[in-house]
């Protein structure tokens, strides 16, 4: 699984060859540093551990500082392992976006979605609500309705969809088309939306 770590820059729209206006997301991807190379001999599987994003040494643990020092770099904010990456890279090498993606590829974007706070069931679980303000309804338009039966089972089943904290979770969006890659500025343009706020960390993989 080839991939790279990046930062969401924002969205814009471009016109494709057919003249359609396409919404797309700009992501600053890489350059990432290889901080660990896992092989069959050492770890029983193949993987590359990539790191991205600067942070201060005083806000990193001693262990992590040592780990990054082995690769010859300062502390990084994001460390992700990509299994079976077919790039011949050694410890301390950099991975750039054009090595991983070319125009026309399909990729998946992983990010942390924007937190929505405590939300009701209409927003959180796409319930329909009552859809009727009249016919005897009073302040129930966005209510969940029944959450179960009565004296049997005399309890609410686990996993019942109710109101609560929404958003702020790990979300993967698959099959995003890579529209353009700009290696000179480490930018990649993908079709569609990517989870998370501007500046949020995004993992792109094939």
């Amino acid at each position: 699984m080839n991939g790279i770590i990046g930062k969401k820059v924002g969205m814009t729209s471009i016109f494709d060859d057919a003249g359609r206006n396409v919404a797309c997301t700009v992501i600053e991807a890489g350059p990432c540093v290889v901080t660990q190379v896992k092989t069959d001999d050492t770890d029983q599987y193949n993987a590359l551990q990539l790191a991205y994003g600067e942070k201060k040494e005083k806000s990193s643990s001693r262990q992590l500082v040592g780990h990054f020092k082995a690769a010859g770099v300062g502390p990084k904010t994001d460390v992700i392992e990509f299994r079976d990456m077919n790039l011949a890279k050694a410890l301390g090498d950099t991975v750039t976006v054009d090595e991983v993606f070319v125009e026309g590829d399909l990729c998946a974007a992983v990010g942390t979605s924007k937190g929505k706070g405590f939300q009701g069931v209409v927003k959180r679980h796409n319930f329909k609500g009552v859809n009727d303000a009249t016919h005897g309804q009073h302040n129930r338009q966005r209510a969940p309705g029944s959450i179960g039966a009565a004296s049997y089972p005399a309890r609410v089943f686990k996993g019942m969809r109710m109101a609560g904290r929404d958003g702020g979770g790990r979300v993967t969006v698959k099959n995003l088309r890579v529209l353009r890659v700009f290696p000179e500025r480490n930018l990649i343009l993908v079709k569609g939306a990517v989870p998370g706020p501007k500046g949020g960390t995004v993992i792109l993989h094939k």
């Binding site: 924002g10 814009t12 471009i14 016109f15 206006n21 353009r180 700009f182 930018l187």
Partner: protein, 115 residues
């Protein structure tokens, strides 16, 4: 330059139109593709709004067609726009002329600006 405007500059194909403002009367030559054939349709009206930045900039043209108001939003960087010509410069005191929607007939006119 920030990343978004860099991308827009790389991706969008530049097309030069004469500079127009809100209140100007323009004719937009719009390419319409019907199956294999394509032809140019003209849309003539007043510019009532210009909004957005870079390649997502758009302008809205309003005209009265058979006494029904018709508004059309054109993206500036749309490849379907063949040309824009200014017919008349208008003298207006605001950048968004939504008040024209509530007016009909003689009241919906825009004064001409001498250039």
């Amino acid at each position: 330059m920030d990343a978004i405007s860099f991308v827009q500059e790389q991706v969008s194909k530049k097309k030069e139109f004469p500079k127009f403002r809100a209140g100007d009367t323009v004719v937009v030559d719009y390419i319409i593709t019907e199956g294999e054939k394509s032809r140019i349709q003209q849309f003539r009206g007043d510019v009532i709004q210009i909004k957005g930045e870079g390649s997502t900039k758009t302008f809205t043209v309003r005209k009265i067609s058979n006494s029904i108001g018709v508004e059309r939003i054109f993206p500036m960087s749309s490849p379907s726009i063949d040309n824009v010509t200014i017919v008349k410069n208008g003298k207006v005191r605001r950048s968004r002329l939504f008040y024209l929607r509530d007016r009909v007939g003689k009241k919906a006119r825009i004064k001409e600006r001498r250039v």
